[in-house]
């Protein structure tokens, strides 16, 4: 009896392997924790907030012209682009100075509306008022009767003044007046509104965000009038400050989501936000995931649709890319056109995209596992064709696929960087000629060229560029899995991705809703795009305040 039991005790090799089973994950887990603690956005809770600039010591302007001018010259005057234009106000006989940054002004406007007015022949009323320059009455007089400007602001703080000037305002200092006046609005050169290049549509508005925040928010407002569309402004960046606006519908958005977004934004701690991508990376849930957890878009219509679903948009100054949170996997495969076209073509395109993204992810891995591991699982006729096609190919399938996949990736990258007229030509040269030549030279099999081409085309059909990149990265991982364990490895790879995205959350919303947690209501807008009349409710996953879309 005992000998029988003993005979079933595995040998030391098995125990060694068991040790490895434990050891390797432990090491990896340790390494992962290390990396993730390095990578993750460790913020001391709400240390640096928007209040950051108000906490700086407040220093009022002295009201003495010389001293204030001196101060300005010292703080910002060292820059060559800050201009000081000193002159005398004829009517008052006081010194005045216009301070502005080169290139951010309409010079004509300043000439005709400020300089000309102030240097004109004296106006008796002004002279009378001018006796008490430091009284509010004088300022009021100046505003009401003298300067023909819409926008005049008084600034008393030194810091505020310098910052306003740097933003592009023109400041007017008057000898004896205790505050400065901002007389010219910033008018830096901006780009004209153009069609969003990264998200082109056949049907739909041609408007895209620009680099100017106010224009962008205005574009959102222009989508339709609603008193519920609320925008909140934040200032981010410790060294170079930038405005950031959170937009949402206050009756739709879930307050907890809003709170979470606000919280994360106030925790951003970085010297400069160059692009909304910075914000995206600083507020996302899991920086080590290959999937993006924030959607970026150039299209105002996309943003407004997301807002109506109860999401929150983040707009950053200086970039045409707005961010939408939270995002789910299915959103990355949706395009606004799905809704603009009638529902049947829309549904077809949706389903097609799901299929395409599956191909883009798995096709090379499946190819490898069939060619190198499971010749018995492909149809006989196909197997014969492949064998004949692969005669003389010197590489194993993994290397073969890698050669072609990597050259396609390089081509794609190169085509992106090249000037527009050359790009397509480059694609033709690279794609067609290299592919054909590689087959002729016997480096790769023609069958693989088909597989790689299908993969590449499929990955183009994903409407979100950044989602496409994630799939491209994962495709290589999948290839490695397939090259190690064939179909079994491919299945493991698929399960790993499933496990990963099922754990992933974007601002508290599971990444793969509505597949799971299963929400039948939301399935209407997943593989198919149900007729608009049927989509009566907002997505359940967003737990919105106002549920119904149609009354």
């Amino acid at each position: 009896m005992w000998t029988k039991v003993l005979s079933y005790i595995p040998d030391w090799k098995t125990f060694m392997q068991a040790g490895l089973v434990l050891l390797i994950p432990l090491i990896i887990n340790f390494g992962y924790n290390k990396i993730s603690s390095l990578v993750s956005n460790k913020n001391n809770p709400a240390k640096k907030t928007t209040a950051g600039d108000t906490t700086a010591p407040e220093e009022p302007l002295s009201g003495e012209y010389e001293r204030d001018l001196e101060f300005l010259k010292k703080t910002i005057g060292t820059s060559s682009d800050v201009h000081f234009r000193e002159f005398q106000i004829t009517g008052l006989n006081v010194r005045a100075c216009l301070v502005f940054v080169d290139g951010m002004q309409t010079v004509d406007f300043l000439n005709t509306h400020v300089m000309q007015v102030l240097m004109r022949e004296a106006d008796p009323q002004l002279r009378e008022q001018g006796r008490a320059l430091n009284t509010p009455e004088f300022t009021a007089h100046l505003k009401e009767k003298i300067l023909p400007l819409i926008d005049i602001t008084e600034v008393t703080e030194k810091l505020e003044l310098t910052q306003s000037i740097l933003k592009g305002f023109t400041a007017l200092l008057l000898d004896g007046m205790p505050h400065a006046l901002l007389v010219g609005l910033p008018n830096g050169k901006t780009r004209a509104i153009a069609e969003p290049t990264s998200e082109a549509l056949l049907r739909g508005s041609r408007i895209g965000f620009t680099e100017v925040l106010s224009e962008n928010t205005a574009m959102l407002r222009m989508q339709g009038k609603s008193e519920n569309l609320e925008m909140k402004k934040y200032v981010v960046g410790s060294l170079l400050k930038k405005n950031l606006v959170i937009a949402y519908f206050k009756d739709i958005v879930n307050p907890e989501l809003l709170h979470e977004v606000e919280d994360r934004i106030t925790k951003i701690d970085i010297d400069f936000i160059a692009e909304s991508g910075y914000v995206e990376q600083l507020i996302e849930d899991n920086p080590l995931s290959p999937f993006q957890q924030v959607q970026n878009t150039e299209r105002p219509d996309r943003v407004i649709n997301a807002l109506l679903e109860g999401r929150v948009a983040i707009l950053v100054e200086g970039t045409p890319f707005a961010l939408i949170v939270p995002v789910t996997f299915s959103m990355l495969l949706q395009s606004p056109e799905d809704y603009f076209e009638r529902w049947m073509p829309g549904s077809l395109l949706r389903t097609l995209r799901f299929f395409a993204s599956f191909l883009a992810l798995m096709a090379p891995a499946l190819y490898i596992s069939f060619i190198s591991f499971h010749p018995g699982l492909i149809p006989t006729e196909l197997a014969i064709t492949i064998i004949e096609a692969r005669q003389g190919v010197p590489f194993p399938s993994l290397i073969e696929v890698l050669i072609l996949e990597i050259s396609i990736e390089i081509l794609r990258e190169a085509g992106l960087r090249l000037p527009k007229p050359i790009g397509p030509a480059m694609g033709i040269v690279g794609g067609l000629i290299i592919g054909e030549a590689a087959v002729q030279a016997g480096i790769v099999s023609p069958f693989l060229v088909i597989v790689v081409a299908v993969t590449a085309i499929s990955s183009f059909s994903i409407p979100m560029y950044s989602a496409g990149i994630a799939l491209r990265v994962l495709r290589f991982v999948g290839m490695l899995f397939a090259a190690t364990l064939g179909m079994f490895g491919t299945i493991l790879f698929f399960l790993l991705i499933c496990s990963h995205i099922s754990k992933l959350k974007s601002f508290g919303v599971p990444y793969i809703t509505p597949f799971s947690p299963f929400r039948l209501q939301d399935f209407k807008d997943l593989f198919v795009r149900a007729p608009l009349t049927l989509m009566k409710r907002r997505p359940e996953m967003m737990k919105t305040g106002n549920r119904r879309r149609r009354s």
Partner: protein, 398 residues
Amino acid sequence: MFKRSMRRCCLLIAAMALISGCWSSKEIEDLSMYAGLALDVGDPTPLERELERKGATYDKKNQITATIQIVPAHSSSSNQGDSSTKGKVPEFLNTTETGDSLFEIMRTYSTRRERAVIGHHLKTIVVSNRLLQKRGIDSIMDFVLRDNDIRPSCVVFVTEGRALDTFAKNASGTVPAQQLRDFLRNRFRTNRIMEGVNLTRLDALMRTRQSFVLQNVVAAKGELELSGAGVIKGASGKWIGSLSQTDVESISWIRGDGGGGAIKTYDWRGEPIVYEIESMKSKQKAKITGDDISFHVEIKSEGRFIENWDIREDPSKPKYMEKAEQLFEERLNAMLREFMRKIQTQYKVEVAGFGESLRIQSPKTWKKVKDRWDEVFSEVPVTFDIDLHITDFGSSTK
């Protein structure tokens, strides 16, 4: 939180791939697939004798000769030549080995061909009747049933003569092994082709130890024809004789599973007239009275009057049709009688599915007789009730 990420696993797999390599990875072009397997009584080919004479041999008794048909043929000339000549290159390659164990023979191929053979794409197995006379089908088929590469979907044929002749090159340039399998698709055209017996069915048949038939292949000058069937005696698993093409038709009439075909007979002037089968149905009814078993088979068919050499008759007349029906029924009855005689008195086996009917209709009786069913059946009276119905006379009234 114990989270791991894709990156982790990516690293891990990369490491694994580097350390251990990919165990099962074998490129498809480095393998040969065999589409056909022909089994003969051990008789080395002249080439083998030559090789053996020069010392290429091992310890064996030459019990069996196995020929595999490799597709596509990996002749190095085929990829050097330009594509226009590709069509003329033979698309398959036969390799013959003699030995005792099928598996050993399979492995011996590796010493003769640079690409190892895999069995995933085996389509047909042809066994010669001489081998089946010597050894039971159980032992011959054991390897192919056990092997994990060979799919049970491959179809088994017998041939009278050398099995490897059926794999010879033919004029059309198609692969005989595939051609044989594709013949089975033509069942909708003629009921002389039996339903292919694949390995799963063979397995079941062998376990029940009932007799059965396997489609017979005849080869001549590189051409193949399916003709008749070989009878395998259940008790011994050995080949005991063959059935003609009409017998195969009879089986399909009794089982009622034919897809199409014809009945040709001669009218009162000796001119051929032909009935095209459009549908056939049969019912085998077992009658048990005490220990006596008898069968009554009801055959119903509808079809078309399709060919008439007798120009003096008008087939569109109902009267003629009725007469013709009678003639066809007589012909069919004669066919069936002849068939029953063959299996009940000549071979003393039951291969037409009567046992199956008995099992379903009277499980208890079946249990009693199943072990000696062949003998019992040879005494069982079988009656037929044939009802052919000509529905139309085609697109010509005359």
